[in-house]
């Protein structure tokens, strides 16, 4: 496979810890950002990103290069964040609390910055999306993965992925309607 990061991972699997550190440094910021977008809470996202690299470390013996390395790492991160989110939601349900308002602490972070109302509205709208729609949107929109790569990360077909992204965007435009600029003539933008 023509992916230098796969070569690093194989090197690490053969026992070279330096190769692991190289991968960690290359993907650290991207993983923190990605987990932040899936979980909405900075402290939780940092913890999750660290978990992802610890899982990567533990997976060295069983690693088989079947995709680009980034796809492999995004898969670990996505599944981990899904699990974390499901765990939080189960706890909230058990306590009889509404999921939407408590699943994300992003509003705390957003409050601290300028333009915080928009950011708060955005993170609330994002946290209202089902986990797979949110991941599909973040992978394609923010992480710049192709439909095919993103589909590989969350284990769905390419057409299902397109549909997830479409529904996510549809929901967001509905929820953020008041923030959207007055509808423009689209044909000129094409």
């Amino acid at each position: 496979m023509d992916d230098p990061d796969v070569a690093f991972m194989l090197d690490f699997a053969r026992g070279n810890d330096e190769a692991f550190v190289t991968l960690y440094r290359s993907y650290r910021d991207r993983m923190v950002s990605y987990c932040m977008r899936l979980l909405g809470d900075r402290a939780q996202a940092e913890e999750a990103a660290q978990d992802v690299f610890l899982k990567l470390y533990g997976a060295r013996a069983s690693y088989q290069p079947q995709s680009r390395f980034s796809t492999y790492l995004y898969r670990i991160a996505t599944h981990h964040c899904f699990n974390l989110r499901a765990r939080v939601e189960r706890k909230l349900v058990a306590r009889g609390l509404p999921i939407e308002e408590h699943a994300s602490g992003a509003r705390d972070a957003a409050d601290a910055v300028a333009n915080d109302e928009l950011r708060a509205a955005l993170s609330e709208a994002l946290s209202s999306l089902p986990a797979n729609q949110r991941a599909a949107l973040v992978l394609v929109h923010h992480e710049g993965l192709s439909y095919r790569e993103a589909a590989g990360v969350i284990d769905v077909s390419e057409s299902a992925l397109k549909s997830l992204v479409h529904r996510a965007r549809e929901t967001l435009t509905g929820r953020l309607a008041t923030w959207l600029p007055a509808s423009a003539e689209v044909k000129h933008a094409l």
């Binding site: 660290q50 439909y147 435009t173 509808s183 423009a184 689209v186 094409l190």
Partner: protein, 186 residues
């Protein structure tokens, strides 16, 4: 072409960075609903840009590599335990079961008493460690650490050092006692 198909094609083309096909463009030119939807989609891009990338806060690497060291140690222990020879006969577990159960029951009682204290202690330690991480990377602090270490060594009496090397546990106990009861009151 149905509106739903045009909307789906618009979002797909948006991410594939490809042109919308001619039929969809023709539909869009006359359909108010699709035009509004697609306009909102373009607006959504600017809203999504309001959520910037999150960068790890200071101390992230320190915390990560500390956790990694922990994992490495655990792995080594597990590997050692895994290859350790076990001479267990078919019924030998019975000879172990009763005393182990009794010991476990006693341990549980003791552990329950101490676990709350340990958890609280661990929480405090973690908070302190996090605070320290924020300052420990400053060059000034690192230099101070070095200077301080030399100063302590320079001030130490040779006999004291010798005693400390021979009986580290005694020294530790004495220091703990002093810390609890610094005035030496009974």
């Amino acid at each position: 072409m149905r509106c739903e198909d045009v909307k789906a094609a618009f979002v797909a083309a948006h991410y594939a960075k490809s042109e919308l096909d001619v039929k969809a463009q023709a539909h869009l030119a006359v359909c108010v609903s699709c035009n509004e939807f697609c306009g909102a989609q373009l607006g959504l891009d600017s809203l999504l840009a309001a959520a910037p990338d999150a960068t790890p806060r200071p101390g992230f690497d320190t915390r990560f590599f500390a956790r990694l060291e922990g994992v490495k140690k655990d792995t080594k222990h597990a590997e050692r335990a895994g290859v350790a020879p076990r001479r267990v006969t078919r019924w030998s577990w019975l000879a172990l079961a009763l005393p182990l159960t009794a010991a476990a029951a006693v341990s549980l009682v003791v552990w329950q008493r101490h676990s709350a204290q340990l958890v609280e202690q661990a929480r405090q330690d973690e908070a302190i460690a996090r605070d320290l991480e924020l300052v420990e990377n400053l060059p000034v602090v690192q230099q101070l650490d070095e200077v301080e270490a030399y100063e302590v060594l320079a001030e130490a009496n040779v006999d004291d050092l010798d005693r400390a090397m021979r009986a580290p546990d005694d020294t530790h106990d004495a220091r703990d006692t002093n810390a609890v009861n610094p005035a030496g009151a009974p």
